[in-house]
Amino acid sequence: MADQAATCEAFAAELPRWIAKGDFQSLIDRLWELGYRVIGPTIIQSAIGYDELRRVDELPRGWTEQQSAGSYRLVQRSDGAWFGFNVGPHSWKRYLFPPQSVVARAERQGDWWQLHDVPDDEPAFAFLGVRACELAAIAIQDRVFLNEHHTDPTYQRRRERALLIAVNCTQAAPTCFCTSMGTGPQCSAGFDLAITETADGFTLEVGSERGAAVIEGLPIRQATADESAVAETERARAEEQISKRLDTTDIRNLLLGNLDHARWDDVARRCLSCTNCTLVCPTCFCHSVTDVTALDDGSIDRVRQWDSCFNAQFSYIHGGVIRADVRARYRQWLTHKLASWIDQFETSGCVGCGRCITWCPVGIDLTEEVAAIREVPS
C-alpha cells in the first residue's frame, strides 16, 4: 500500500522507542480494549502457528525451530527469547484470505434465486509478530486482491482494518532466503509498529498514525543509544545467518524459456503433488468456489476455498484436465510463482520465507530447481 509506505518513511526519521518486557502485556491489553482481535505466534501441534493471543505467556517464549528441507522441529532455547524463531506453517494469509469463506448466499424468491452478500463479522485484526518476508507477502497479496481490475471485498475489509505489528528477525533459518528476494530480514515499510527483541525489552518503531495512536499512554519511552545499538546487533545476526540464495537474474525469461527442460521430468519423479507448498505459501491465492446447501432453509452458500494448482481437477475444463501430470503441475507452480507472477502483478510471487522447502514432505527446494535449470539451460 503506497500510502502506508509513505507514512512509514515519515515516521522513519523518529528515534526508536523502548518497551520493557515486563510492560509488553499492556500493549496486548490495549489492542483488545480497542476492539482488535490479536493474532500472534503460539505453539500449535508441535509447531509455531498463528492464533488468538491474549497473554504474553501464550507466546512461544524460549522456543525455536530447526528447519531444513522437508523437516521442522521445535527445540528449546537457552536464552528464553520471545520471538527467537522464524516462520512456521501458518501465514497471515489465513486471516486476510481465509481458507474458507462464504462469498455469496442464494435464497429462493418466487421461482428464481436472489444472491445476497453475507456480511463478514470478523473484528479488526491486530497481527503481532509479522516478519519482514511476511510484510512483503501481504504487499503482494494486496496487488492480487486490491487492484484496478478487481477488489475483493472480504480481503479489502480485513486488510484495511488490520493493524500490523512487525518483528525484526534476530536469527534466520537455513531455509530463509529473503535477502535474495529483497524482502528482509529487516522490516522497512508496510507496518504500523515494528519491534526488535533484546534481552530485557524491545525497541519499537512507529510506522503509521494508527500505530502511534495505539501506543499512546503506554509505558513506552525513548530508547537509549545503547538499547538501539544492541537491537541493531541483534538484527544484523539474522542477515549474517542467511545462507540460502536464489539467483533471480532474468529469472522470468530463464524459466519461461525452459518449459521443456529435463529438470521438470526430474522434479516430477520426486514431487507427490501433495499441495503442501501452495498451502503454506504466504502468497498463493488460487481458490475454488463450490455450492453448499443449508439443510434448514434450503439456502445455498457459495463457499470459496483455497485450491492448489497441484490438484488434478484444478485445470479441469469441459470434461478434461489440461495439466494431467505432475510435471505440468510443478512447472505451473514454479513458473507462476517466480516468472508469470511478474507479468500479472509486476512483482515476484516469492518472498523467500522458505516455507515450501520446509513443509515439502520430500524436501524439494525451489532454489535448487531453479539453479539446476540455470546451470544447463535447454
Binding site: W112, H149, R157, L256, D307, S315, Y316
Partner: protein, 305 residues
C-alpha cells in the same frame, strides 16, 4: 480511541452477486448444443446490460456451480442483418435477450440442459477482452473456427456484417466433425446475403455432402485472393485446431500481430483472481479470452501448460 479500528474506506461491491435471469427462449442448434436466449428478471438490469463481441458471462445454477459462456449474440439489433434469434418468445417486447450457445460438457451445462423455457439461473458479466473489430476497418477479415468455437465468433459476425462496408472482405472458414454438427447452419444464407463468404469443411462426410472433407487449415492454404499485408484473422476452436490454424496462417505470411484467438480455460471467478485459467503468464479471464497471438504464441505449443 475505538476509531482506530474503523476505516473510512468504502468496501468494494461483491463481484459474486449474479443477477437472476430467465430462459426466454431456447434454440436447439446441433446435437448436444443449444442457444439459451436469456433475459434478466429485473427489467432495469436487462435494459442496462451491455457487452462487446468476444466477451463472456458467468452462468450460475444454484446448487450446481458456474460456467463461463461467451455471449454469442444479443441485444437490440437495429436494421442490418436480421437477428438470428428465432423469436418464438412472444414477449420480445420485454426487452432484448442475451444469447449463450452452450455445449453440454460438464455438471453445470448438463444441469442447464435440463432447464426449459421459463427456467431461471444467475448471470454475471460481461467479462474479458473483445475482438478488436475497430482495428479491422478497411481490411480483409478472416474468421477461422472449429466446432462450437464458432459460438465465440457469432456476435463478431453480426457486428461485422451490420457494418459490412467498413471491411474489404469478410470470410469465414469453418470446420466441424460432420455436416450435422455445423453450428448455426440455418443462418448461413443470411450471412452470405449480407456479404460474407463462407467455406465449410467436415472431418467425416455424410450422404448429400458435396463440400470438402478435411481440416480447416487446408481451407486456409487454398484461400484466394490472399493479401497477407491487409488481413486480420480471428480464430476460435479446440486448442489443437487453433495451433494448426495459426501455423497455417503464419506459413501464408501473416505475422503474430495480425492474429487474435479466443482461448478456453477453466474460469471460475472471471475477475483474474482464482488462478484457474492461466496459460503461461496470461490469466485468460482477465487478459483474455481474446488475445493477440504475440502474447501467447510461445506457450501455445507447450503441452499441458
Amino acid at each position: 480511541m475505538s476509531s482506530a479500528v474503523t476505516s473510512g474506506v468504502a468496501i468494494a461491491a461483491n463481484p459474486w452477486l449474479a443477477q437472476p435471469a430467465r430462459i426466454a427462449a431456447l434454440t436447439q442448434e446441433v446435437a448436444g448444443v443449444a442457444t439459451y436466449h436469456l433475459r434478466f428478471v429485473d427489467p432495469e438490469v436487462n435494459a442496462a446490460y451491455r457487452f462487446r463481441a468476444g466477451q463472456f458471462n458467468m452462468i450460475y445454477l444454484p446448487g450446481v456451480g458456474e460456467v463461463a459462456i461467451g455471449v454469442s449474440t444479443g441485444g437490440v439489433r437495429t436494421g442490418g442483418v436480421a437477428g438470428p434469434t428465432p423469436r418464438t418468445d412472444a414477449a420480445a417486447a420485454e426487452g432484448p435477450t442475451w444469447d449463450h450457445t452452450v455445449r453440454v460438457a460438464g455438471q453445470v451445462t448438463t444441469a442447464l440442459s435440463r432447464l426449459g423455457v421459463g427456467g431461471t439461473l444467475g448471470l454475471r458479466g460481461p467479462y474479458g477482452s473483445v475482438w478488436p473489430l475497430d482495428e479491422f476497418v478497411g481490411k480483409d477479415v478472416l474468421l477461422v473456427a472449429g466446432g462450437t468455437g464458432l459460438a465465440s465468433l457469432r456476435s463478431a459476425i453480426y457486428e461485422l456484417l451490420n457494418n459490412r462496408d467498413r471491411y474489404a472482405s469478410v470470410r469465414l472458414l469453418y470446420g466441424a466433425r460432420s455436416p450435422d454438427t455445423l453450428l448455426y447452419a440455418s443462418e448461413y444464407p443470411a450471412w452470405i446475403d449480407a456479404g460474407m463468404e463462407i467455406q465449410t469443411t467436415v472431418d467425416r462426410a455424410a450422404a448429400g455432402w458435396t463440400g470438402p472433407v478435411g481440416v480447416v487449415p487446408q481451407l486456409q492454404s487454398r484461400l484466394r485472393p490472399w493479401a497477407p499485408e491487409r488481413t486480420a484473422m480471428i480464430c476460435c476452436g479446440p486448442e489443437v485446431m487453433i495451433r494448426f490454424a495459426v501455423r497455417a496462417a503464419l506459413a501464408r505470411g501473416l505475422n503474430e500481430r495480425q492474429i487474435w484467438v479466443s482461448m478456453e480455460r477453466n474460469m471460475q471467478c472471471a475477475v483474474g483472481l482464482c488462478g484457474h485459467c492461466q496459460l503461461g503468464p496470461q490469466m485468460i479471464c482477465k487478459t483474455g479470452p481474446v488475445v493477440r497471438l504475440d502474447a501467447i504464441e510461445p506457450y501455445l505449443a507447450v503441452e499441458g501448460l
